[in-house]
Symmetry: C2
Subunit: 188 residues, 2 copies
DNA sequence: CCTTTAGGGAACGTGCCGTACCTTGTAGGA
DNA sequence: TCCTACAAGGTACGGCACGTTCCCTAAAGG
């Protein structure tokens, strides 16, 4: 045979990569243990030896999929920065991430394990952007509060969850920024 | 036998009620056609003759479950009204509705059919409450905009979706109202 | 070289969806 | 009152997926 039998880390890596591929192609509902095993060129035994069930594998694959650091925009103008952050989020949640995330969110077990990254909406980024705007006098200092800072992305996520759309139209993003976010945080 | 064979509307009613019961007990993932049929004292044939698949039955059951009109609070004070609306939403989404709704939201097909009731967050209620507050001079008239009016419930839903909690603590509701909603809509 | 460990292959039990086929009761007209 | 068309009941099936089990085989390491 061409390929030697893989073991340990190499096999684990292959399985995880196969899971990521399946997740991106078919979403969480389409992530099946049989297909992951087949795609990784192994069998379910090797998979179950590492992840106790489909949910755990789904989480691992999702984490690998989203393990990417983003650059916080800094254009010197709050509205531009905020819109850029929102557009980034919109792109991130666009297909196939959205469907994947929705599939994961449906299972309460998964939700608990997904960690706070999804939950806090990357508040650090928003606080950074707002902090600069406060320094420029664009924003009132009381807005430097996680609940306030992440309002825009929370509204976008709400839009994304309640409507089934793969991505929100740009008008919605602009509306969120101009009708809600800027009026909320701007200096009086 | 005690029971005569049911037909038509009576049987349909029994099936739908069984589906509602299963939905409340086990959530959408636990809603199985076999169990609904058994619970209704009939067989899957009768179910499939009325609803083409599990998703359709789930939607029908959910609609029946949530077919309730709520009374819009009118205390004369915006903060009290808004908090009451939020608390109502929080109660509604508490177990088992939350899990049910999450289960439904996971399926894009369902999402499209769920209608706009879930999506628009009952904007009419919020516009009513805000409208009265505008008349009292508590709120700036520009806030009478669906996107703005429903910010509070959108944030709560976001809290509810991203974290797996059955219901949000009251402090979160208060924070949403005092840190975000009131500063956003109040007259300057 | 030989033992231990882990991967490979395949089958199984279970649960569920959706379908098919046949039997039996019932409504409603002749 | 009787008969027929139709709806309900009963049961089984094919397909798929999860998670488990059993046995065989390759690799690692002393």
């Amino acid at each position: 045979m061409v390929g030697a039998r893989r073991r340990g880390a190499a096999l684990e890596e292959a399985i995880l990569q196969a899971a990521v591929d399946e997740l991106t192609e078919s979403g969480y509902p389409g992530l099946t243990m049989d297909r992951v095993a087949k795609r990784a060129g192994t069998n379910k035994n090797a998979v179950y030896r590492r992840w106790p069930n489909r949910a755990a594998l789904g989480i691992a694959a999702y984490h690998r999929l989203t393990a990417t650091t983003v650059e916080v925009p800094d254009t010197g103008d709050l509205r531009t920065d905020v819109l850029e952050l929102l557009r980034m989020a919109n792109r991130t949640w666009s297909s196939p991430y959205g469907e994947i995330l929705r599939g994961l969110l449906a299972d309460p077990d998964l939700l608990a394990q997904l960690g706070e990254r999804a939950a806090d909406g990357g508040s650090a980024m928003w606080l950074t952007v707002l902090g600069r705007a406060v320094a420029r006098g664009e924003v009132r200092p009381e807005a430097l509060h996680p609940r306030v800072a992440t309002v825009a992305v929370a509204l976008l996520r709400n839009e994304f969850v309640t409507r089934g759309v793969p991505n929100a139209p740009d008008e919605v993003l602009v509306e969120i920024v101009d009708e809600v976010y800027l009026p909320l945080v701007r200096s009086r």
